[in-house]
């Protein structure tokens, strides 16, 4: 069974712990006076962050865990404060005394530590990487995040789904459409309605456009991190073209506010032409980049994640596919009828992740042709029913999971697990045979989200 998520809910006198696998949901209740659970991290190492987060959020004790350090609550966060409990309603917390965080380190003669971040050299999100080094060789890496933790889960409680929308679409800028589609699916479950095919196609078109933008950006940045800047010029030009197209269709360069229930006019003729011209550019890009041996010398065999590890760590998205694991939320009738093809690679290295991005990009273009349709369907929503809802979407990073409990018409509990949340926990496995100068390249080849991870 593939582990997907583990999270808790405050149910008055008890905590409910939900453990979600691809084929089943397990629920368990523990009394608040003795909130003790058993860890899953021995079988599913990816459960570790979920459990450490529960410990911070609710004060749940994970008895046999080998790692009980705080996750979300950093050095200056007040101790014994569990903000996801319903009785916590402070809007302001003061910094408390600095308590050092014990990093996982390897010690020994000549072994030294390299700390990187949270503010990085480039224009990227904040996060911390802690290396144990023997000369250039990386012995171990601990990834520490949650610098962009905004407490989105708490922020959304007590809001209606409509009120929550502008916040949900801004959780992670690169995956805005994917988050909106998750929100849409939950809304439709709550109103007990089916989405008309025409709207489904419009939304799927936008999701693929978002994926295109993300992959094109990476196709530029990955070679750039190996010192091949020309690819960045071309990749970022194509990404900018796609972003302008997003603006043209949705009125926003990142598609904020794009997913709604009215199908608006699309100039299908010019969009088909545009897709053809993108196809041409991408074919040219592929033909050109495949032919640069000094680049592939860096990409091949760098940052390998073996298939066995990819399964063990329950990875999803580009990382899983590059290691040979065909996990994709788009494997369903709707997408298959519109030309979806699952792509995988076997080598699990940076090169494999690069090739997956090219293949997905080309597949997206094929599907986008099929999604284009002139239509003016409008869906009027019924009143929403209370309940517990879950939805999944394949974002540009991988499987996105969102769950919302609605009680008395407002959100009782919101939880989202970005693909990055599980994938970040597998990144340190890729460093075994590489030197520290390879790290930026490996990290970029995964291109995971910080904001989506931290919530």
């Amino acid at each position: 069974m593939r582990f997907i998520a583990r999270y808790a809910k405050d149910r008055g006198r008890v905590f409910e712990i939900v453990t979600l696998y691809d084929s089943e949901v397990q629920k368990e209740q523990v009394h608040k006076e003795k909130p003790v659970i058993q860890t899953l991290s021995h079988e599913h190492p990816a459960a570790l962050w979920f459990e450490r987060k529960m410990q911070d959020d609710f004060g749940i004790i994970v008895e046999d865990a080998f790692d009980k350090r705080p996750l979300v609550h950093q050095e200056q966060f007040p101790k014994n404060v569990h903000p996801m409990c319903k009785d916590f309603d402070a809007k302001e917390l003061d910094f408390s005394e600095f308590q050092p965080y014990n990093y996982e380190v390897i010690k020994g003669d000549g072994v030294f530590q390299v700390s990187v971040g949270p503010i990085h050299a480039g224009i990227i999100e904040p996060g911390h990487f802690h290396f144990s080094q023997a000369g250039e060789k990386m012995l171990h890496l601990e990834i520490r995040h949650f610098y962009t933790y905004r407490a989105i889960e708490k922020m959304l409680e007590g809001k209606t789904l409509e009120e929550a929308k502008p916040i949900i679409e801004r959780i992670s800028g690169n995956e805005s459409i994917a988050y909106q589609i998750c929100w849409r699916d939950i809304l439709l479950q709550a109103s007990q309605q089916e989405l008309p095919q025409a709207l489904q196609k419009r939304h799927a078109f936008l999701l693929e456009l978002e994926r295109m933008i993300h992959h094109l950006t990476d196709l530029g940045f990955i070679p750039n991190d190996a010192g091949f800047g020309a690819a960045l010029s071309l990749g970022s030009k194509l990404a900018e073209d796609s972003r302008r197209k997003m603006k043209e269709i949705t009125g926003h360069r990142f598609g904020f506010g794009a997913i709604d229930f009215a199908n608006k006019f699309l100039d299908t003729v010019s969009l088909h032409e545009w897709l053809d011209s993108m196809q041409e550019s991408i074919d040219y890009f592929e033909d050109w980049i495949i032919d640069i041996p000094s680049l592939w010398d860096r990409l091949d065999t760098t940052g390998i994640l073996a298939l066995k590890k990819a399964i063990k760590y329950d990875t999803v998205g580009v990382i899983a596919k590059a290691s040979g694991l065909a996990i994709d939320r788009r494997i369903n009738n709707f997408y298959l009828q519109n030309g979806f093809e699952a792509v995988t690679q076997l080598s699990g290295d940076v090169a494999a992740r690069f090739k997956i991005r090219i293949a997905e990009l080309k597949n997206s273009l094929t599907m986008m042709h099929n999604f284009l349709q002139e239509d003016d369907t409008v869906l009027t929503l019924n009143t929403l029913q209370d309940g517990e809802y879950m939805s999944f979407v394949e974002s540009s990073m991988g499987e996105l999971f969102m769950t919302i409990d609605i009680k008395d018409g407002v959100i009782e509990r919101f939880f989202a697990r970005d693909a990055s949340f599980v994938n970040w926990q597998a990144v340190h496995l890729m460093m075994r045979n590489d030197i520290i100068a390879d790290f930026p390249l490996i990290n970029k080849s995964c291109d995971l989200s910080y904001a989506g991870n931290d919530l």
Partner: protein
């Protein structure tokens, strides 16, 4: 590689949207002159994300693409606050990032300025105040200029930088 040069020679220079390009050109010209006059030809920016959704960062990265090409005007994103003249601050000042933002600000040599980028740092984005948010930024740090938008487009960022240059 030979295919690349062949294509480049054949294609020449393309302009898809003359009106937009002209506007950008005017802004670029003014920025270049201003940077030359006020910062001896090179203005160094240190981008700090204090908890944004990555859209502002993506737009700053877009400033380096061939359409906008900010470096040509003498504006650089530098790798360390110690190399910077200006801190470009995006994000909502999370509880966990605020101490690091202030530390980075300390590291910037005088004279220094802070420009806030996007609606988050001034608490105008749809996010609501929680215990994990310390925005607005002006409560912690002196802000010289603000570039609004969610996120501001590359063109708006360039315009904002120009306004900043005129202001100081």
């Amino acid at each position: 590689m030979i295919k690349f040069w062949n294509k480049r020679v054949k294609l020449g220079i393309l302009t898809e949207n003359p009106e937009f390009e002209d506007e950008i050109k005017t802004i670029q010209k003014e920025i270049k002159e201003s940077v030359k006059k006020k910062f001896a030809g090179s203005l160094a920016l240190r981008m700090v994300d204090s908890g944004s959704c990555n859209a502002c960062e993506a737009e700053c990265n877009a400033l380096a693409n061939p359409y906008y090409d900010l470096e040509r005007l003498g504006i650089y994103f530098v790798a360390s606050p110690r190399h910077a003249d200006v801190m470009l601050l995006s994000g909502i000042m999370t509880f966990n990032m605020t101490p690091h933002v202030l530390e980075a600000y300390e590291q910037i040599p005088n004279p220094k300025w802070v420009i806030t980028l996007g609606d988050c740092p001034i608490m105008q984005a749809p996010f609501e105040r929680t215990f994990a948010i310390k925005a607005p930024a002006q409560e912690h740090i002196k802000i010289t200029h603000h570039i609004s938008g969610c996120p501001p487009s590359p063109k708006e960022i360039m315009q904002g930088l120009l306004e900043f240059l005129k202001k100081i």
